[in-house]
Assembly symmetry: C2
């Protein structure tokens, strides 16, 4: 970061410091609540003077506004664009949804935790903007699932509960993800998407993906073997029991 | 509640008021952080005197300790007992896990949110107790999944990521569950468990749950129909193509 900073343009350097302030502020807000934190606490934690912080964010409110836009606003935008994507089928969209959410949450875990902790005490109109974006995001994810159900790609699940389950699974990443951990964020996203699409249990895939006669015959042999086992069991049982 | 209260024993009445204080305290803590809240704030919100609150909780710390025991401690205990249950198979355990977690989170959403928000600023030794219980709960859920994988009941998933996904899905219920909402908590638990066990996509269930000859024959007829369609398609195609 610092080596990049030396070669960076003044604008890029400014963005870099602004981001550091946002990160630090989010951590402090998350720890002691939004209402109980002042620019002074943030300045102290950054080892900057208050005027230096004001140089980047004129008010605590403008700082919070940028935090909310970077999390809730960014996630809503992603979901809207994904739902409108005509190149992906329902499965691919669900996969991309989980991967994209995990990536965004893992990029700003402290900001996510902050919003979850103190969304009720956000100053207006930031609080309303955040609440609306959250509502809209839920509406979009519900619609994505409902569209998949309508097309027969998904099971007839309760789309609201399924949407909340998926959002929760992804949001919770903010509480356990470590940027310095041993699992790359792409792997986490893929694993979570896989869980949503496949569930936990092992099941023999009975889908004839390749539509071949060979595959159909293999299924047939499996079922025949099963039928034979059942018949043998039935034939053996009465002798023992009656 | 109040009609019960009139007939309740002094002990039950005491528990009732203590619970109300805990609920109110959790809401205030969640809004303004643990460090920034005193017994005075809780007393004011309860419209009680400070001495009256002290009658139930001698210190803020004892109040927080009871909160943590009621959430993290209770959840850990549930998970340990569930994992040890010899009457349930892996699928049933996973189902019971999600249902039980959802029920417990929905019973104390404000307490859950509080712990998620200010676990870093919990006083010692409560903070360490909470952190250990969380770690142990994750260890137990990982083990439940790993045991299911080892027995071939579950797919070979990354058990840590699957455990975190399930815990996150259930924990997040604290952010959207409404006790006065139109969906009973049992239905939420069942829907979330179903998502973990089945995933989102529609698939023909090919499991012979009842082990009957009729079911085996039905599968066989399905495959025969499929084989016939494939054969007809193959027979029709060369005529058009070649």
């Amino acid at each position: 970061m610092s080596t990049d900073g030396r070669r960076a343009t003044p604008q890029a350097r400014r963005a870099l410091v602004a981001n550091e302030i946002l990160d630090k502020a989010a951590t402090i807000f998350a720890d002691q609540g939004f209402a109980g934190t002042g620019i002074r606490d943030i300045a102290d934690a950054m080892e900057m003077s208050r005027p230096a912080v004001y140089h980047y964010f004129e008010t605590k409110e403008s700082l919070v506004q940028e935090l909310v836009a970077g999390v809730t606003g960014e996630i809503l935008q992603f979901i809207i664009e994904l739902r409108a994507d005509r190149h992906l089928d329902h499965r691919e969209k669900a996969h991309a949804l989980v991967e994209g959410l995990v990536r965004r949450v893992a990029a700003r875990p402290a900001h996510m935790r902050l919003l979850a902790a103190s969304e009720r005490s956000l100053p207006e109109p930031i609080g309303s903007t955040h609440a609306e974006a959250k509502r809209d995001a839920l509406v979009e994810v519900r619609a994505m699932i409902a569209e998949g159900v309508a097309d027969g790609a998904f099971r007839p699940v309760d789309e609201r509960l399924a949407a909340l389950a998926i959002l929760g699974m992804c949001n919770w990443v903010a509480w356990w993800y470590r940027a310095d951990g041993d699992i790359p964020v792409e792997e986490i996203g893929a694993a979570l998407a896989d869980l949503v699409l496949e569930g936990l249990p092992r099941r023999q895939s009975r889908r004839l993906a390749d539509g071949s006669i060979g595959a159909a015959a293999a299924l047939l042999r499996e079922d025949l073997a099963h039928l034979e086992r059942l018949i043998h069991a039935r034939e053996a049982a009465p002798r023992r029991k009656s």
